[in-house]
C-alpha cells in the first residue's frame, strides 16, 4: 500500500495514464512526420506547385509563354516550385515566311531575327534571309539552363507522315502540342536555387547558333 492506494490500483492507474500519453505522442509524431514529408524543402514528397512554360525555339532565339500561352519576357518562379518546360520547334508551327506575311494570324518567329539582326548582321540585312534559308535543314534546337544544368531538346524529325517528314502549317502552339507532340521537348525539375540564369542552344542550328542565347531568362525568387 502506498498513500492509501493498493499496488495493483497504482499499476492500473499508471497503465491507463501511460496509454493516453503514448497514443497521443504516437499520433503527434506521425502527424508531424507526415506534415514534414509534405511541406519540408528537403522532402521528395513536398507538395510543390507546378509552373508551366512553353518555349518556342526558333532560328535564332527563344520566345517564352506562360501556362495560358501569353508571351512573357522571361520565366519567373519561386524557389521550391516545380517547373515544367515544353520546348517547341518553331519549324513545326510554320516554315514559309511568305505565307506567314499573308496570314496575319500566323506566328512568324524568324521575322524576329530579321527585325533584330543576328550576330554581326544588322536588322533587316538581306543576308539574314540567306542564312535562314541555308539553315532550314537544321531545324532542331535545345535549351540549356546554365546553373541548373537542365537541358531539353526538340525533335523535328520525330513527326513524320507516310515515311516522309511532315511539315504542315500549324496555326498555334496549341495545335503543335496536339498534332506534333513528338517534336516537343519536355523537362520537369525543382527550382531549388535562387538567382537569374541564362539559357542557350547546345545543338548546332546554323549561322546564328552561337547567338541563340537569352541572358537572365530563368529567374528564381
Amino acid at each position: 500500500m502506498l498513500l492509501g492506494v493498493s499496488k495493483a490500483g497504482l499499476r492500473a492507474r499508471w497503465v491507463t495514464l501511460e496509454r493516453h500519453r503514448v497514443v497521443a505522442l504516437g499520433a503527434l509524431i506521425i502527424l508531424i512526420g507526415v506534415s514534414a514529408l509534405l511541406s519540408a524543402d528537403f522532402s521528395p514528397y513536398k507538395l510543390r506547385p507546378v509552373k508551366t512554360f512553353y518555349v518556342v525555339a526558333y532560328m535564332w532565339g527563344y520566345v517564352f509563354y506562360d501556362s495560358q500561352l501569353n508571351e512573357i519576357p522571361y520565366m519567373s518562379v519561386n524557389r521550391g516550385d516545380e517547373v515544367e518546360i515544353y520546348l517547341i520547334p518553331a519549324s513545326q508551327i510554320i516554315r514559309d515566311p511568305l505565307l506567314s506575311a499573308r496570314m496575319n494570324s500566323y506566328i512568324e518567329y524568324e521575322n524576329r531575327t530579321r527585325w533584330n539582326g543576328i550576330g554581326p548582321l544588322p536588322p533587316n540585312d538581306p543576308r539574314i534571309t540567306e542564312e535562314l534559308v541555308a539553315s532550314h535543314d537544321l531545324p532542331d534546337h535545345s535549351m540549356f539552363i546554365e546553373g541548373y544544368n537542365v537541358i531539353v531538346f526538340t525533335c523535328d524529325k520525330c513527326v513524320k507522315a507516310g515515311g516522309e517528314e511532315e511539315h504542315r502549317v500549324r496555326y498555334s502552339i496549341r495545335q503543335v502540342l496536339e498534332e506534333a507532340r513528338a517534336s516537343v521537348g519536355y523537362v520537369r525539375f525543382v527550382a531549388d536555387k535562387t538567382g537569374s540564369f541564362d539559357v542557350y542552344c547546345t545543338v548546332y542550328c546554323g549561322f546564328g547558333h552561337p547567338y541563340q542565347k537569352v541572358k537572365g531568362a530563368f529567374i528564381v525568387r
Binding site: 493516453h20 500519453r21 497521443a24 505522442l25 506534415s35 513536398k46 507538395l47 510543390r48 506547385p49
Partner: protein, 286 residues
Amino acid sequence: MMDSTLGTYAKASTIILWTISAFFGSMAISLFVDGLAISLRIWLENRIGSPGLSALAYNSVHYFLFQLMVILLLIGILGRVRVSGIRAVVLLLTLTAGKLAGRAVAEQPPPPSQVAFSFVVSAALSASAIVLVEDLLNNSKSEKSALLYSLGSITFVAVTLWFAAFPLIDMFGSLDLSNSSRIGMVLSLVVLGYMETKGSTARWTPLPIVIMTAYLTVSLLVSSLLSDLMMSTRTIASLPAQELVLYVASRVPLAFFLSMIVISGTFIRRLSVSRLNQCWGDLINK
C-alpha cells in the same frame, strides 16, 4: 530533509522536461503544420484551381489540425496532471514561444503589429489547449446548456460585428490598424469567454465545442453577407454552387478557431492563486 530535497529536484527536473518538450514540440508543430497549410493551399490552387477547396484545406490544417496537434502534445506531456497558477502561465508562455519560434524559422520577419497579433492569438490558442486537455481528460460534467446558449449568443453578435467591420477597417490600408482590430477581436472574445464562464465549474467537452463552432460558423456567414452589403460587393452571391458549398465549409475550421479563443477565457479561471498550492502537488501525487 533528504526526501524533501529529492522531491524538490524531482519537481524541478519534471518541470524543466515539460518546458523543453512544450517548446520544441510546439515549434515543430508550427514549423511543419504551418508549412503544410501553405504548401497544400498553393498546391491545390495550382493543380485544381478551386479557391474554395484550397481555402478549406488551408483552414482545416491551419486552424483545426494545428490545434489538435497542440492538444496531443499537451496530453503527451501532462497526461492527467492539472496545471494552474504559475505553472500554467509558464506552460502557456513556453507553448506560445515555441509556436512563434517555429514561424520565425520559416518566415520573413513580420512587422511589429503582426508579431503582436500572432502573440495574442498563439497565447489564446495555447490557453484553450491547456483548458481542453484538462477538461477532456478529467471531466465528469459538461458545460450547462443555458450557459452555453448565453455564451454562444453573445459571441455570435461579437464575431458578426467584428468580421463585418474588418473589410471597412482594411480599407484604410494601414497594417497596424488592421492588426490592432484583430487583436481587439481576440481580446474581446477572451473577455467574453471569461465573463460568461467565471461562475461556472462545468467543463468543456466535445459537444459544447461543436455547438460553439456551429454558432460561430453561422455568425461568420452572416458577417460575410453584412460586409457584402456594406461594401456593395457580391462575394457570396457571385459564387457558383460548388464554390459556395466549399466557402461555407471553409468557415467551419475558422469558427472552430474562434471558439478556441472563446474557450481560452476559461483559462483565466486556472490562474486563481487559491488553487495554486492544491495543484502544485498534483504532479507528484499523480
